[in-house]
Symmetry: C2
Subunit: 227 residues, 2 copies
DNA sequence: TTAATTTGTTAGTCATAGCTAACTTATTTA
DNA sequence: TAAATAAGTTAGCTATGACTAACAAATTAA
């Protein structure tokens, strides 16, 4: 690991690309993350992505062969994890101290994660007494950049009759998060899968003594622990 | 006042120029703030400033005649005051909750003031119980953008024998702020002017039962209240 | 295995916001 | 008041990071 990490001279855009690539590499564990996929994730043209990837390669954060899959170097990964740490700590702060709701935090945290100050983020961490998880249930990487990636079980993968506990939710979409709160689900909610309908993969679930039918798309974004 | 203020579509640079111009218009109450003066303040070329001023004029935030002095419109002033409010609230937060020192806060607050979220700043204000002054003793504008500009008395303007209390310090220079802390001055420190040396305008002051000689340049940046 | 489609790349354009160099207008001051 | 200096402006350049359009390579399907 070089000392590039301390100099912190990346632009907001460069940081965004590295973080996006990191998320894609984790989620799509199928092996390959390509240029257009990254472009899509960032809602940016493939040409822009191609340019930026080229730049990040010369800077030593990304590795790829021409027409090949994209990968992160240790440095690149380290920067991404630090960004995720910042993002999740800010989200935690906004929810716990500034009355933000689940669905409001993301956009603001997206801005705050680019603030450059080691002291700021470590003091914020200390101020909140070193929280382990963010408001969406995601693990917060520590100051050393250690990031335990827990294997994720989606609600959609369960069989009829399973009982589980809500561990975390995908924080990518505001409308999704609003929906989750509206029907009354919170972290640690106990959920029972009543019925899986083969026709459209929708699922009838029960929690808080109420029943609700959700789509597969919804259940794909809800992560649970079987109990 | 238009509703431009709520749309908040200014770039970081545009915001920086408006804030800088606002500060210059207050400090240099001699009447005229010019293009080069603004360039100097922002350590940017006069050409860049000229471009930006042109842009801010078409956007309705700045008024000036060709080769004439620069002025802010109500909208321009309002944006500047909101930035100052954000800057000072963040500084207060950093000092009171995150163990930042006087001289460390400025750079980070300079970044944080550009975060776009009305809720964020108003909740931060509430969280800190609506502080009236920032760590350097400067007044924090309220949510309505009301900003009481107190007339400033510099330590350098006092006569021999005067006794005063430190009200605020100029927060523009890190080295200056470090110097102030190092010799032991804090807000509310009681200071007596022992001697004003005509030769180089240096001043011998007494506080906390110690004596210290400071330059005029130093005393120009220390604001006091005569008691 | 050829054709169609998807994916990746390149070239050239645009806006923002900086710069230098050259020039014009204003203001001093000799 | 004329020359010197300061202040303001313009033209033209640079880098970043978007974009579209055109093209090349790789993959999939017929």
């Amino acid at each position: 690991m070089t000392n590039k990490l301390n100099s912190y001279n990346l632009t907001k855009s460069e940081e965004d690309y590295l973080k996006a690539l990191f998320h894609l590499l984790i989620d799509d564990s199928k092996g390959k993350v390509g240029n257009n996929q990254l472009a899509d994730y960032l809602t940016v043209s493939p040409a822009s992505t191609n340019n930026m990837v080229k730049k990040l390669k010369t800077k030593g954060y990304v590795v790829s062969e021409k027409y090949g899959k994209l990968e992160l170097t240790d440095d690149g990964r380290s920067i991404a994890v630090r960004l995720i740490r910042k993002h999740r700590l800010w989200e935690t702060f906004l929810c716990k101290y500034l009355n933000f709701t689940w669905d409001e935090v993301h956009d603001v945290a997206e801005q705050l994660e680019h603030i450059k100050s080691q002291k700021l983020i470590n003091e914020l961490d200390r101020f909140m007494d070193f929280p382990k998880k963010d408001p969406h249930g995601e693990v917060i990487p520590n100051a050393e950049g250690e990031y335990s990636i827990l294997p994720k079980v989606t609600l959609s993968s369960l069989e009829e009759g399973s009982v589980c506990q809500l561990v975390s939710v995908n924080d990518g979409s505001v409308t999704f998060l609003k929906y989750v709160s509206e029907i009354g689900l919170v972290l640690s909610s106990q959920i029972k899968v009543i019925e899986v309908r083969e026709f459209d993969n929708s699922i009838k679930i029960e929690f808080n003594n109420t029943q609700e039918t959700v789509t597969k798309k919804f259940a794909d974004n809800v992560f649970v622990k079987i109990i």
